[in-house]
């Protein structure tokens, strides 16, 4: 631990889901956070409701890194079935807190591990009569033990408890006692042999701990979403449920009781997509939230939205595919599928938030973009961003009013002799539209997914078809540089890294490690598709650019190969992580070092499967 105040501690708690461990994990997280120490919690839970193993990763760093770390300095083992296997997660020299009843762990010879057996079950039994409550509080006992080991003060725990149980303060007492139980047990029965400790810092003041689905929901509300049509699917459900909760608080007219948003649980994702298009066509700001399987089911409707030019916001909280895949693991696997979703020639704007703040901002902007470009707009987040808590600066209040795009009302129509729905009058590929209900004889037009001309009349004419398709391509060009621009950190190093979405956080840390190792890198974080024109400049400015992403096939790598053209494509090196865990900096560093020190001859565009943790 070099400089004073340096902290990089990684705790892993192995419990079973549905046992209330989540709440204990949160209390610990908030307590460390309350000590002014930056935290990065990650929850690895099973696709099931109760009784299966679940792992909680809590990383605390003075540098404020948001990525996780693979190995644990402190492992809390409360789940018998995984007890032995979990030991592999321990760093040598690490600390093991475990249920005494499991018996001593089988550790490989001479592995220097600090063992703290604790009779969690017994302790709980002795003090908590009700079995359900007991199961729950057992987890709090571990918080007490850990607090004692790491030196987390009661004040911090108290702050955490108040925040946690804001809505039901009555529960605080019981939780407090359970924590004390753990602390006391350690004090009286065990002696600290390890050196792990957390000293307070001042690096969290003004920061919030939020998950990306929560901030995205607020973004949707602030973006003026008035129709939410969704179908439950992990990991997107909580986004919709947050929108509904916010709507119940902020969208109900106190006088009339009217609700200024429609929130419909559709019968499936096809229907949800159709409702979004119907609502967008009628002028509402509509969105749907889903994950991979839902995107597949929305394919036909999204093609209709593209060709008939109907605004709509499609949020995909990505999980591991293909098919049902691993519903509770994270991946960036729908990038290329969403980008050109539906049969025929199509292409859609895709926003790629990389932080919980951007989950908020991009959702808010997505509605403007959808109406400006009159087309379905995708927002691709993922389980890691959406369902884990992240430390973030406060969210900004929007500084601009809505931009509803090119909509003609009665007043404008009064001044016109002719209205043609699909005529490119401004040369930017974006036509003007009217909405049903406009009281004017020029307003009406016929919306269809079949061939149509500028006046929205049915046609099978080859010239007209081609003209319309060329305009649609132009329209996306108009969009290209209106989308969130890449964020570039460039000091004219020869080596570049290009990443997007939640991979960002591992890149930040990896760059520090690489730089410390003498390998300085520049960095471009892509925030939308189609790729901004500036990306070509970045790639042109570097002899080699690592394209970092979380999927097997290097989907963004492929998109870049096409959009940047062959010359620049030759400089791209694909790094792929696809095991369902968030990307770890160490894996990324290793992959880049492997490459950099690989035989010059090796074809750089054929990195084998890449990083797989």
């Amino acid at each position: 631990m070099a400089e004073p105040g340096f902290i990089d501690l990684n705790l892993v708690a192995s419990t079973v889901n549905g046992s209330g461990s989540q709440s204990a994990n949160l209390v610990l997280t908030r307590a460390v956070f309350a000590m002014g120490i930056p935290v990065a919690p990650k929850n690895l839970f099973p696709s099931n409701i109760e009784g299966l193993p679940t792992w909680f990763y809590l990383r605390a760093t003075s540098k404020g890194y948001r990525a996780g770390r693979r190995r644990a300095d402190l492992l809390v083992a409360l789940d018998r079935p995984t007890f032995q296997a979990d030991l592999a997660k321990l760093e040598p020299g690490g600390v093991l807190v475990y249920e005494e009843a499991f018996g001593p762990p089988q550790l490989e010879e001479g592995l220097p591990i600090h063992l703290y057996p604790v009779p969690f079950g017994k302790l709980a039994k002795a003090s908590v009569p009700d079995p359900d409550l007991r199961k729950y509080l057992t987890n709090l006992i571990y918080v007490g033990v850990v607090a004692e080991i790491l030196g987390v003060p009661d004040a911090a725990l108290e702050a955490a408890l108040t925040q946690q149980f804001r809505s039901k303060p009555k529960a605080i007492a019981a939780n407090r006692e359970a924590i004390a139980l753990g602390r006391d047990y350690f004090r009286t029965n065990l002696t600290k042999t390890d050196l792990l400790t957390l000293n307070p810092l001042d690096r969290t003041s003004g920061q919030l701990l939020l998950d990306g689905n929560q901030t995205a929901a607020l973004g949707a509300i602030m973006g003026g979403c008035t129709v939410l049509a969704w179908y439950p699917i992990t990991p997107s459900s909580s986004l919709a449920e947050h929108v509904i909760a916010l709507a119940d608080r902020y969208r109900i007219d106190p006088e009339t009781g009217e609700r200024r948003i429609a929130t419909i649980q559709a019968e499936d994702e096809l229907a949800a997509a159709g409702m979004v298009l119907g609502a967008g066509w009628a002028g509402a700001r509509a969105m749907t939230t889903t994950s991979g399987p839902g995107i597949s089911l929305m394919a036909e409707f999204v093609g209709l939205g593209y060709y008939a030019e109907i605004p709509g916001v499609f949020v995909d909280i990505q999980r591991v595919g293909p098919s049902t895949g691993l519903p509770t693991r994270t991946m960036q696997g729908d990038i290329s599928f969403a980008y050109t979703l539906s049969h025929g020639d199509t292409r859609h704007p895709v926003l790629l938030p990389g932080t919980v703040r951007e989950c908020y901002e991009f959702l808010e902007q997505a509605f403007d973009l959808a109406e400006q470009l009159q087309t379905p707009v995708f927002v691709l987040s993922d389980l890691d961003l959406g369902m884990n808590l992240w430390m973030t600066e406060p969210l900004p209040y929007p500084d601009q009013d809505f931009d509803r795009g090119k909509v003609l009302h009665k007043e404008e129509l009064d001044r016109m002799v002719r209205f043609e729905r699909y005529r490119d009058v401004d040369g930017d590929g974006v036509p003007w539209r009217t909405v049903p209900g406009t009281e004017h004889p020029l307003a009406a037009y016929f919306t269809r997914g079949s061939g149509h001309d500028e006046a929205a009349r049915y046609t099978e004419s080859e010239e007209t078809y081609t003209r319309v398709m060329d305009r649609l391509a132009r329209k996306l060009e108009t969009g290209r540089d209106r989308l969130p621009a890449p964020i570039v950190d460039e000091q004219a190093n020869g080596l570049g890294i290009l990443a997007y979405g939640s991979s960002h956080h591992a890149v930040v840390e990896a760059r520090d490690i690489l730089a410390a190792g003498g390998l300085a890198t520049d960095y471009l974080r892509l925030r939308a598709l189609p790729v901004a024109s500036s990306v070509a400049d970045f790639v042109a400015g570097h002899s080699r650019v690592y394209v970092v992403e979380q999927n097997r096939d290097g989907q963004m790598q492929q998109i870049l190969q096409v959009e940047l053209g062959a010359q620049l494509a030759a400089r791209l090196v694909s790094i792929r992580h696809y095991d369902g865990l968030p990307l770890f900096a160490a894996d990324l560093v290793e992959a880049i070092r492997q490459q950099e020190f690989a035989a010059e001859g090796a074809p750089r565009t054929h990195v084998a499967a890449g990083v797989t943790g």
Binding site: R166, L208, L210, I221, M222, G224, T226, V227, A229, Y250, R251, I252, D253, T256, G257, E258, R259, R260, I261, A262, I264, A266, E267, L270, A271, A273, G274, M275, V276, L277, G278, A279, G280, W281, A282, G283, A284, A286, E300, F301, P394, Y397, P398, D401, F402, T434, V435, P436, G437, T438, H440, P441, A443, A444, Y445, F446, T447, G449, S450, Y458
Partner: protein
């Protein structure tokens, strides 16, 4: 040029104002007759073209929205998915009058799930199924409403159970269910007007022969078959809200249903008694017809009380698109307080 007087409706619009483009459907297609009845119903009803939204899926039937009220907005969706699109549009602007046209393939085959859920939500719209028992536009394959044993022109016999759209709708608890025949304007026009006055989903299962692929001997959706097997439940008159009752009629034989907007549908019974407010009764007449091979037409079931989706959602009267940032965003204070609460 001498002024010529055109007959107009209360809204001051002429019949022509409700016309659409020339049909491209086959001459004699039942769908064309339905189009004409729709034009009459909309004209008589004095519907505001600017508030009308014409919805459809894909099929010969679904093309029909182009053939009436050119001055109204229309949305020709993808195959079988009109219900979802209509639901979204209805949420966005509950003041619009939605008239959906679909086919039996569009509704009972690919679209069956969405159709059922539309009814479950009781979305405020009129949903006309132009039912010919075949896929017209793809050249005459059986649809899911084909009756067991009915025969295709080339001889294929339908082995499967039929899906009775009206019966299904009643069973699912739809709030307005009627069956009619493209050839029976006097029955269809009042039913259409009643449907327009109803708040909630009004299903009209209209037998509409496909002269090109399903109007032959052995078809149960041919003009011939319907003429021979139609069992008409009632004589119908639509009485607009304003109009005071002129026609006097002998008690007992007639009943009236008051619709959501205060207008009435008067039913003069023919032959058998049928109380259209009794769901079980409706299920029975449909089931009996199904067994006897009779085509039971008329108002089968109505429940004017069932709240429609927008009411259940407590949506404001004004279209959602007209809400501005000040009505949709948290205030700066609320925003700050929320973040505070989240911190």
């Amino acid at each position: 040029m001498a002024a010529i007087t055109v007959k107009t409706n209360p809204r001051g619009l002429s019949r022509d104002d409700y016309k659409g483009l020339a049909t491209t459907l086959c001459a004699g297609c039942g769908h064309n007759s339905i189009t004409n009845h729709i034009v009459k119903a909309l004209y008589d009803h004095g519907v505001d073209p600017f508030r009308l939204a014409k919805m459809s899926g894909i099929g010969c039937s679904s093309k029909a929205t182009a053939y009436f009220v050119e001055r109204a907005h229309a949305f020709n969706a993808v195959h079988g998915r009109m219900p979802a699109v209509t639901t979204g549009a209805a949420l966005a602007d509950r003041e619009l009058l939605f008239l959906g046209i679909s086919g039996d393939g569009d509704t009972a085959s690919i679209g069956l799930g969405q159709f059922c859920h539309l009814l479950r939500r009781n979305v405020d719209c009129t949903y006309v199924v132009e039912n010919n028992g075949v896929y017209g536009l793809t050249k005459g394959q059986f649809s899911a409403t084909a009756d067991p044993g009915s025969v295709l022109r080339k001889g294929a016999v339908n082995q499967l159970e039929t899906i009775d759209i009206a019966g299904l709708a009643v069973q699912l608890g739809a709030s307005f269910v009627a069956r009619s025949f493209s050839g029976d304007g006097p029955q269809l026009v009042p039913l259409l007007r009643a449907a327009l006055s109803h708040r909630g989903t009004a299903v009209l299962d209209v037998i509409s022969p496909c002269v090109t692929f399903n109007d032959h001997e052995g078809s149960t959706k041919s003009y011939q078959y319907v003429k021979e097997h139609e069992l008409i439940l009632q004589d119908l008159d639509f009485i607009p809200q304003q109009a005071e009752v002129e026609v006097s009629y002998d008690e007992g034989t007639a009943t009236e249903v008051e619709l959501h907007d205060g207008s009435h549908l008067r039913l003069r019974k023919l032959g058998r008694d049928h109380n259209p407010q009794d769901r079980l009764e409706a299920l029975r007449v449909i089931d009996e017809g199904r067994r006897s091979g009779e085509v039971v037409t008329g108002l089968l079931y109505v429940n004017p009380e069932l709240p429609d989706l927008c009411s259940a959602q407590h949506l404001p009267r004004i279209p959602l698109r007209d809400l501005d940032a000040s009505q949709l965003r948290l205030t700066r204070d609320q925003f700050a307080a929320l973040l505070e609460e989240w911190s």
